[in-house]
């Protein structure tokens, strides 16, 4: 076997980490063998053209199927670290929802943004720790964009502490714009993966997906929502923000307090 061929096979084997562990244990060797045979016949380029879509679509199907059949009789309590992360996330979500209930002064608003930013990142971390026991590859692919883009947005928010509104304009305006888009999409994608892996309540995951996508519509530079003359898009975007905060509360509660199914054994 040449080193290029070996590299292709290793890469393909790495891609197979998207499947549930029990599926990989049973079929990964056979799939690599089939991929190698196919590559030998049609060439590496053509073999790779369809491989990612083939693996991703069928891996998602396997996860959905597994979620329907997994037994929930064995449960374990959350660890102290998970409890702490979940509680911080719960606080972050609550801080976002608080703005819908009480009028928060501008100075306190920065603290609220700080708590919210930290809350989102801690919940993602807590859920990821749980999801990686079920499917390490898919869990990582789900968490990385949310953590990276969420951190980016969090840093941008720290930069504007003490500024007069509008805080997202000026020098950093476009950087804020892209940080906002990326973080909303990162959280939406994390919600999709969380929904599929079903290690926490799907209500929270669905709220995160819908809330994040609707939240995008409120970004000033898209020109849909307006701070001077509110439109229907303001309402839609605010609904998204509310759902986003609600998602962190639900997911924070779940990871902090709910017992979960025991992780699969080595043979599973």
């Amino acid at each position: 076997m040449t080193s290029a061929a070996g590299g292709n096979d290793r890469l393909y084997r790495g891609l197979l980490r998207l499947y549930p562990a029990d599926y990989r244990a049973q079929f990964s060797d056979q799939m690599v063998q089939l991929f190698t045979d196919h590559k030998r016949e049609v060439g590496a380029t053509r073999a790779w053209l369809r491989a990612p879509i083939d693996v991703i679509t069928t891996a998602v199907g396997e996860h959905l199927r597994r979620n329907r059949t997994v037994a929930h009789s064995m449960t374990v309590a959350p660890t102290p670290v998970t409890r702490l992360l979940g509680l911080v996330g719960l606080l972050g979500g609550a801080s976002l929802l608080a703005a819908f209930v009480v009028d928060i002064p501008n100075d306190a608003n920065y603290i609220r943004l700080f708590v919210f930013g930290i809350g989102g990142l801690t919940v993602v971390t807590a859920i990821h720790l749980r999801q990686r026991q079920r499917s390490p590859g898919l869990a990582l692919v789900g968490a990385i964009p949310a953590l990276v883009f969420g951190t980016w947005m969090f840093v941008m928010e720290l930069l504007v502490i003490g500024r007069e509104p509008p805080v997202f304009g000026g020098t950093f305006g476009w950087v804020f714009f892209w940080a906002s888009i990326a973080s909303w999409l990162g959280y939406a994608w994390f919600g999709v993966v969380t929904f599929l892996l079903h290690q926490v309540t799907r209500i929270g995951a669905a709220a995160l997906v819908v809330g994040s996508l609707l939240g995008i519509l409120g970004i000033d530079r898209l020109g849909l929502a307006s701070s001077t003359e509110p439109t229907i898009w303001n309402t839609v975007a605010l609904t998204g923000v509310f759902l986003h905060g609600l998602a962190w509360v639900i997911l924070g509660l779940d990871v902090a307090f709910r017992r979960r199914p025991a992780p699969p054994t080595a043979s599973a």
């Binding site: 599926y23 079929f27 799939m31 063998q33 196919h38 879509i53 083939d54 693996v55 679509t57």
Partner: protein, 118 residues
């Protein structure tokens, strides 16, 4: 052999891909790559399965007791011994036969205009 379904149980619902894979296995024993090639051949290239499509379907067919893994391994001089070969079970043959009869009656009922229409 899988005992997922007793003789009294109704045959499981199977997808089009599952039927194609069972047809590709046929009366013989085939490994994954041979199945993939045979599916492409019997559909004139219209259906080209990837490794994921082949093995996720094989897994369901194994669980439903429609196919089983052969215990025999190929001669190491003739083929790679790591390959796994699959064959139809009795239930699998019954399901394929029922599907073939269903399609046969459908073709028989087809009117000339339906076959000639473009």
């Amino acid at each position: 052999m899988s005992t997922a379904h007793s003789a009294a149980a109704p045959p499981p619902q199977v997808s089009r891909t599952a039927i194609l894979i069972m047809l590709a296995i046929g009366p013989e024993e085939r490994h994954g790559y041979a199945i993939m090639q045979e599916v492409a051949r019997i559909t004139d290239g219209a259906t080209r399965l990837g490794p994921g499509g082949v093995y996720t379907t094989i897994r369901r067919l194994l669980e439903d007791g429609l196919i089983e893994e052969s215990d025999e391994r190929p001669d190491p001089e003739m083929d790679d011994q790591r390959r796994r070969y699959y064959r139809l079970t009795g239930l699998g043959r019954t399901v394929v036969a029922a599907e073939a009869r269903r399609l046969q009656s459908l073709v028989a009922a087809a009117k000339p205009w339906a076959l000639e229409a473009r």
